[in-house]
Structures are given as C-alpha cells and as structure tokens.
C-alpha cells in the first residue's frame, strides 16, 4: 500500500472578527473590502491559545479519531510562522501533550504558509522508507498583522494535523511534487512583530507562478487533467487568489467550493490549505481524487494527488470542519486588540 493520510484533525479558535468591524475602525468601505478580498470574517485566538495549543488540539483529534496509539508515532513536525518560541520547538510540546514517549524524530518547519505540507512530505518519506510507522504533520498558525494594514482583514488562526502511515490509509498519496524558488514576496525579519510584503508582487511572480507551476507539473508527471479530480484545494490567502488559480488551471468553481474556507475563517497561514483539505476529506467518498496545492511565501508550492480509499467510510468525521467554521462567537475590535496583545501594557 502507498503511504497516505491515516487520520486527520483540525482546530479553529472560536472567536470571529468581521470585515465590518475592522473597516469601521479604519474608515474603509466593508463592501469594497469583501468584494476585493473575498473575506467576510476571520478567526481570532483566545488569550490562552497559540500555535502550540492549536497544534495539540488538532493532533489529539486526529489521534482520537484514528484510534492511533501515540507511542507508535515516530516523528512529529509542526509547521508554522508563529511558533511560540523562536528557539525551542513546538513539536516537543505536542509530543509531551499527546503522550508519545521519547522515541520520536521531531522538528519545527518554517516556510510561511506551506510549512504544514512540508511536514506531510517529510513524514511521507520517513514512512515510505520504513524509518517510522506513523508520522504526525501539523500546520498551524496564530498569525499577526499590523493594525491598519490590509492583511488585518485576513490574518487569522487555526491548524490541522495529519497522521501519515502505510496502514489503514484513508487517503493515499499517489504523487507529491514541489516547486520552489527564492522569491521575496512576503517576509518577516528576526525581532519584527509584523510581516512585510511586496504588495502586488505577491501575486503573479509569487503565488500564481508557484501554485500553477506545481499544479501543472504534477499533472504532467502523472498524466491527469483537471476533470480527473473530484476536488481541488489551493492555498487561500484571500478568497480571490485560489478562485483565479483554479480558473487559470481549468478547475471549476464546484471543484474548489468545499475546500474554500478562507471567506469565513480568514487565512490561517500554515493551516490554510490543510484546513481546506480537511473540509474536503469530511465529505469525500471512496475513489475520489483530490488535488492539494499549498503555497508558502519565500516561495514554494507543495502539490499532492490524493486517492480516497474505502476505509474513509468507517472513519469518524464529526464534527466537520464546516461545523466548526459556523460555530464562531463574534468579538469587537477592542477585544480583538486585547486578545492579540497589540496593546502594549506597562511592565
């Protein structure tokens, strides 16, 4: 059997901040923003949540649903651009929290929004080579954006965790391919609280070049056409880019609809494409073929072709990602500032 996803779990913080709230504060027209970005509201983490807590909750869901014995997990990789520590890994916090003992490989990944899928590839390699029985790959973020910056409408929090293995696979990985280059479209220097970006440069030379190249090349390599796929999930920095990428590549609106979560939870960065992928798995049927293409600034895309197996029928998929998305609690801008600690307190 090929290596693939054995189990998956997600976590989305409950608070939501609407585009109306943000636009009101900065004197912008919310309808223009919604039309321009395709985002309506975003998730906001609570004061006591961070990438580590989100990773643990997503991982626990994956382990519980897949009935995995944590001690058989041989590797944990957490991909994020908001690890709680710059030096000290999130993967070890997850390891102790899920009770997987001490015999596991671990490391944190950073590759902007595609650090989670990079982790899936690493687990895949270790599983296929027989180094480990199960690997745990997590993409999670609690990304910060500067107040008043357009990114504020979309930068949000959430994560997804995947157990990768060769046994009891519910979605096998038929092929994976990465397209990578050194492209400074979006970055954050050491010590800076907020990222910087190249404005419109983040579009064609960055997102679109890598996403379409990876998608085109993986289809060339495997001989598939867009119509061979039941679903496609692209990285979602906003509601426009993935729709345009789909159109460029020849995918339909119906194929991308289930995985298009950004409008209601914002861009969860390393959680973005993988939460979308999880939403697809929630309704996928045996035999379905899924294309997943992530994108991380800096820049690169990881493309995957998944084939859903029969085992997904007995796999517990409740509560579904869309249930979680739809059970948010609204907060106002002031509360959001406090929760995201953008107000500097004395001492």
């Amino acid at each position: 059997m090929r290596a693939g996803i054995v189990s998956y779990g997600t976590y989305i913080p409950r608070f939501r901040l609407s585009v109306e709230e943000i636009a009101k504060v900065w004197g912008e027209n919310p309808d223009n923003v919604k039309a321009g970005l395709g985002v309506y509201e975003k998730s906001v983490p609570d004061l006591d949540e961070d990438t580590a807590t989100i990773s643990v909750e997503a991982a626990r869901e994956a382990i519980e649903r897949g009935e995995i014995n944590p001690e058989r997990i041989g590797a944990i990789f957490v991909g994020s651009e908001s690890h709680p520590y710059v030096v000290k890994p999130t993967a070890t916090i997850v390891g102790d929290a899920i009770g997987c003992g001490n015999r596991f490989h671990a490391g944190d990944f950073e590759f902007a929004c595609k650090a989670g899928t990079a982790g899936i590839q690493a687990c895949m390699g270790m599983v296929k080579s027989g180094m480990i029985e199960f690997g745990l790959a997590i993409g999670a973020d609690t990304s910060q954006s500067a107040p008043g910056d357009p990114l504020e409408y979309s930068a949000s929090a959430g994560g997804a965790a995947f157990v990768v293995g060769k046994k009891r696979v519910i979605a096998e990985i038929e092929e994976t391919l990465s397209f990578t280059s050194d492209t400074p479209d979006f970055w954050r220097r050491e010590g800076q609280p907020y990222p910087s970006h190249g404005g419109r440069f983040t579009g064609i030379p960055a997102y679109f070049r890598h996403v379409t190249s990876a998608a085109t090349q993986i289809m060339e390599k495997t001989g598939y056409k867009p119509s061979d796929f039941n679903y496609a999930v692209f990285h979602q920095p906003n509601g426009k880019f993935p729709v345009r990428a789909a159109r460029i590549l020849g995918f339909t609106k119906e194929q991308i609809a289930q995985g298009l979560v950004v409008g209601y939870i914002g861009n969860t960065y390393s959680g973005s494409s993988v939460i979308g992928f999880s939403a697809v798995l929630d309704i996928a049927k045996p035999g379905d073929k899924i294309l997943l293409v992530s994108f991380g600034s800096g820049a690169g895309s990881d493309a995957f072709i998944f084939n859903v197996t029969d085992l997904i029928e007995n796999y517990p998929r409740v509560p579904a990602v869309w249930d979680k998305i739809n059970s948010g609690i609204t907060v106002d801008y002031g509360t959001y500032l406090k929760l995201r600690k953008k107000i500097r307190l004395k001492g």
């Binding site: 580590a52 807590t53 519980e64 979680k324």
Partner: protein, 144 residues
C-alpha cells in the same frame, strides 16, 4: 507568582506530563484514584501500590468562582473562572474553565482542552496545561 528569574523551571518541568494531560495516580492496593499525582497512598501508606493513570477529560463543575483580583501573571485574563471539576473517572481537579462568566453554572458538563496558563514575562518560559470548556460548545467534542 514568584519574582522573575526565580521561576523554578525544573520544578514545573517535572510535572509537564501530569499537567499537559490529566495524568494522576491510582493505588492498586485500595483502588483510590488521585489527582494531583502522588507517590504514596494516604490510605494505605506503606502498603501503597501506586501506578500512573491517565484520567478521562470529561466531568462536571462542582463549584466555581470568577476571579477579579488576579495575580500578576493572569492580569490579562481578568476575570477568569476557576472551578472544582469532578471528572467522570472520579478525581476532583482544580482548573480554569474557558467560557463566558454568564455561562458557568454548578453541574455544567465540561471537557478538557490544552491551553496556555501563563508566561514568565516576554523572555521566559511558557507554561501550558489543561483547562476545561463547556461540553456543549467544545468544537472537538469527540476529543477527550
């Protein structure tokens, strides 16, 4: 809590396993269950046969308080809820419950969640542990 630079890192590290998840002890001699963990059964004393036990993360609120006068490290979280929770497995745990103060009530069903408790300032260690959320709003309802 204690002054900066005096946080006793090894002391809290030793208990990570028991705080990140609800891991306590059971005495195989008398069957008593304990949380926090103990090395010694207070009922059996020298006849103790203590083993580690992970407890189910579901329970109900026995009593609660909403803390307004908060210690330094919880200043941002004010007001927060501290509750005595009786786990379905038996032991009673003191923990925080994350919900609106208007929602909490005696008898409410809750499930565990992994959260950050506090940080040792901007450059110190982050202390994680187990808190609880109301069962009816837990998004990972199956996750216990």
């Amino acid at each position: 809590m204690v002054e900066r630079g005096d946080r006793m890192i090894p002391r809290f590290w030793r208990k990570i396993k028991y705080r990140y998840d609800i891991v306590g002890s059971v005495c195989e001699n008398c069957g008593s269950k304990f949380y926090p963990p103990r090395n010694f059964c207070p009922i059996c004393r020298r006849r103790s046969k203590i083993k580690e036990q992970r407890f189910n993360g579901r329970g109900k609120v026995l009593s609660y308080t909403i803390v307004h006068d908060t210690p330094d490290e919880f200043k941002l979280n004010k007001p927060y809820i501290v509750a005595l929770i009786e786990l379905d497995d038996g032991p009673i745990i003191t923990s925080q419950v994350v919900c609106n103060p208007e929602e909490i009530e005696v008898g409410m069903r809750v499930v565990k969640t992994f959260r950050k408790y506090f940080e040792d300032g901007e450059d110190g260690v982050i202390y994680y542990g187990t808190k609880f959320v109301p069962e009816k709003i837990a998004t990972n309802a199956k996750n216990f």
